[in-house]
């Protein structure tokens, strides 16, 4: 392995691979991506594969809105030899309580301000979009057609191949064991295959970003939270949009492959690194899914798995330089939606590090927001 690099990126998920590409395409030479296992083996490869713009905070919504535009032209932009399977079947966010409906109204106002074309629709209009939707108790729904699905493995693969063509080196099955600091500046990354001297490190390790920050003595306000998911056998296309019911803690979509991916959030999930699968989840998600979408009761479950959200206190990303470790940047805290905002997160961070004009104020994702004052909490996380 090489002894030095201009930039060392830790983490081979969507964020790490996209940042590698964005830097390389802007002319940065000598970039190395370090990945503990294989590319997209962490949260990216375990996510629900959804891409939505219907967020409650402006920050999340802008990143998601602009990322959708990138997904739309990604096969061509990255000259990908396969297909990222981007399908814009929309997101249908259904509401079964008044309180939730009020929140949806506020969220839609934020989205409209940013030009996101979300519609507020009646239960009958929602049923016209998803015929097997349970209308019992349904108050209304919000729908945005340009939301949808992308295949996380292929998106990462597309960034990886494009970055590799631009000269980026990828070291998979390599662990970071330490960060060397001199006078408060990063000078090297220690790995299981040797040290790499560098002055710029990007910590894009998702739920493990806190572990890396601890190596330079910084406590990142981040905690891991297990989320489980399952996939069914493939069937003929019958559900266009991703259906989200925050009341049922449920998300559920049919992928272009034909299988249904779904998951539920567990409010009692402890904060730890556990990624085992549980039977309790199978029961829970089956009950919620067959309540909201009764037709699905006949679908067979093929596989279940779990992954970790990298939860930040306000469910918004943290994009900042690490205090006390000049040259070390963190891109984490995506709180379960790092994949869908990945393309633009990478652009924003790259622009900041290279001293270019940022397309939005990156300070809004800074660590300073946790020092005091009121946080703008994201309400739309499943």
């Amino acid at each position: 392995m090489q002894k030095s690099a201009n930039v060392v990126i830790i983490g081979g998920g969507i964020t790490g691979c996209a940042v590698a590409y964005e830097m390389a395409v802007r002319g940065v030479k000598d970039i190395v991506v370090i990945e503990k296992q294989y590319l997209s083996s962490g949260a990216t490869g375990r996510c629900g594969a959804g891409v939505r713009q219907q967020w409650g905070t402006e920050t999340n919504a802008i990143l998601a809105r602009d990322s959708v535009k990138r997904f739309e032209g990604m096969n061509e932009e990255l000259e990908y030899d396969r297909d990222i399977e981007f399908k814009q079947g929309g997101y249908l966010m259904v509401s079964y309580t008044e309180k939730e409906w009020d929140q949806y109204k506020k969220n839609v106002a934020v989205q409209h301000n940013l030009g996101i074309p979300t519609k507020m629709i009646t239960p009958l209009e929602a049923q016209a979009i998803v015929p097997h939707l349970n209308l019992n108790g349904l108050i209304g729904a919000t729908f945005c057609q340009s939301d949808g699905h992308a295949n996380p493995f292929h998106v990462v693969d597309a960034y990886y191949k494009a970055a590799r063509r631009l000269g980026v080196k990828f070291e998979t099955y390599t662990s970071v064991t330490g960060i060397t600091l001199e006078k408060g500046k990063v000078t090297a990354v220690q790995t299981s295959k040797g040290d790499i001297a560098t002055s710029t490190v990007i910590n894009a390790c998702g739920y493990a970003a806190g572990t890396i920050c601890k190596m330079v003595g910084f406590e990142l306000p981040l905690y891991p939270q297990r989320h489980q998911a399952l996939v069914t056998e493939p069937v003929e296309p019958c559900q266009g949009p991703m259906v989200i019911s925050l009341h049922h803690r449920l998300y559920c979509q049919q992928t272009p492959h034909g299988s249904f991916i779904m998951g539920v959030g567990d409010p009692n999930e402890p904060k730890d690194f556990n990624i085992n699968s549980s039977w309790e989840f199978l029961e829970d998600v089956s009950r919620q899914a067959t309540t909201v979408l009764p037709l699905l009761k006949n679908l067979r479950v093929v596989r279940q798995w779990s992954g970790l959200y990298d939860m930040s206190p306000d469910a918004n990303p943290i994009l900042d330089e690490v205090p006390g470790a000049q040259g070390m940047w963190v891109a984490a805290g995506f709180s379960g939606h790092g994949f869908m905002v990945g393309p633009q997160t990478a652009v924003l961070l790259t622009q900041k590090i290279l001293g270019q004009q940022c397309f939005m104020p990156i300070e809004r994702f800074g660590l300073a927001r946790f020092l005091g004052g009121e946080l703008d909490l994201e309400s739309a996380v499943v």
Binding site: Q37, Y38, L39, S40, S41, G45, R82, F153, D157, T172, V231, T232, E233, H257, S277, W279, L282, E283, S286, R287, A289, T290, L296, K297, N298, L299, R300, V301, V302, R303, Q304, W305
Partner: protein
């Protein structure tokens, strides 16, 4: 040993081996049945009274070597494909071994095939002298192989020579229709573990969860990297064991 490998031991074989003298006399059945299981079609099949009726259906069959004329009916009836007919009187240097065969394509008379021992190791190339169909109801074919006298008690299986694997036509992942050629191309591209191939091509993501393709892909990786199959990194084995309906988990059925 038999329980672990499926290969009988030398001692097992000796218990069912006829004497040299009996072998020289002409065709005789070799019943290589060493597991006490409830099974008795051979006793029903034998019209010579050479395989005696069993007192207990779990017993191993007992053959009367003097009564057996090597007709071969028992061979085609044995569900375990455990019976062979050896005729050491064929010539001074060669013997005939009759072997049950249940694969397609069926070898042709005059074809040269690879003879295998009980462990599946190749023993040489031998000529098929006769092919006998088991009939409408019994799909077991009997293949007559001409082998050297010294291998009469060794050759117990056969493999066709012409079955070269066609990577473009050979399906490795049956759930997702992925061919050997596609898998080999991915490995060449640099996808270096089963997990990576699974994510790139969906191999192993179908209802069987990789039960068919997992080890086949492992073999290809082992070949490519010249490592033992045991060193290929296994993917995570995930629930569920078999596909079950959401409605069942929800408790409605």
């Amino acid at each position: 040993m038999l329980n672990k490998t499926g290969v009988p031991t030398l001692e097992d074989i000796q218990t069912v081996s006829p004497s040299e003298e009996r072998l020289k006399k002409g065709p005789v059945a070799i019943i290589e049945c060493f597991q006490e299981i409830p099974c008795n079609p051979c006793t029903e099949a034998c019209k010579q009274g050479a395989i005696r009726p069993m007192e207990d259906i779990n017993n191993l069959p007992k053959l009367d070597l003097d009564k057996c004329n090597g007709c071969g009916v028992c061979l085609s009836r044995c569900p375990g494909l455990a019976i062979f007919i050896v005729d050491a009187s064929y010539s001074d240097t060669e013997a005939i071994v009759r072997i049950p065969y249940e694969y397609y394509p069926v070898p042709q008379v005059g074809e040269k095939v690879v003879g295998l021992n009980r462990a599946g190791d190749e023993l040489g190339t031998f000529e098929v002298s006769k092919v006998q169909s088991g009939g409408q109801k019994n799909k077991t074919y009997t293949i007559w192989l001409i082998v050297p006298q010294s291998l009469a008690m060794e050759v117990r299986g056969l493999r066709l020579r012409s079955t070269e694997i066609q990577p473009k036509e050979t399906i490795v992942c049956r759930c997702e229709d992925i061919t050997l050629g596609e898998i080999q191309a991915l490995i060449k591209e640099g996808y270096s573990t089963i997990d990576e191939i699974k994510r790139a091509a969906r191999a192993g993501m179908g209802p069987c969860q990789g039960r068919t393709c997992r080890m086949l892909i492992a073999q290809e990786l082992a070949k490519f990297y010249s490592i033992p199959v045991g060193e290929v990194l296994m993917p995570t084995f995930r629930p569920t064991v078999k596909p079950v309906k959401l409605g069942t988990y929800a408790g409605g059925e």
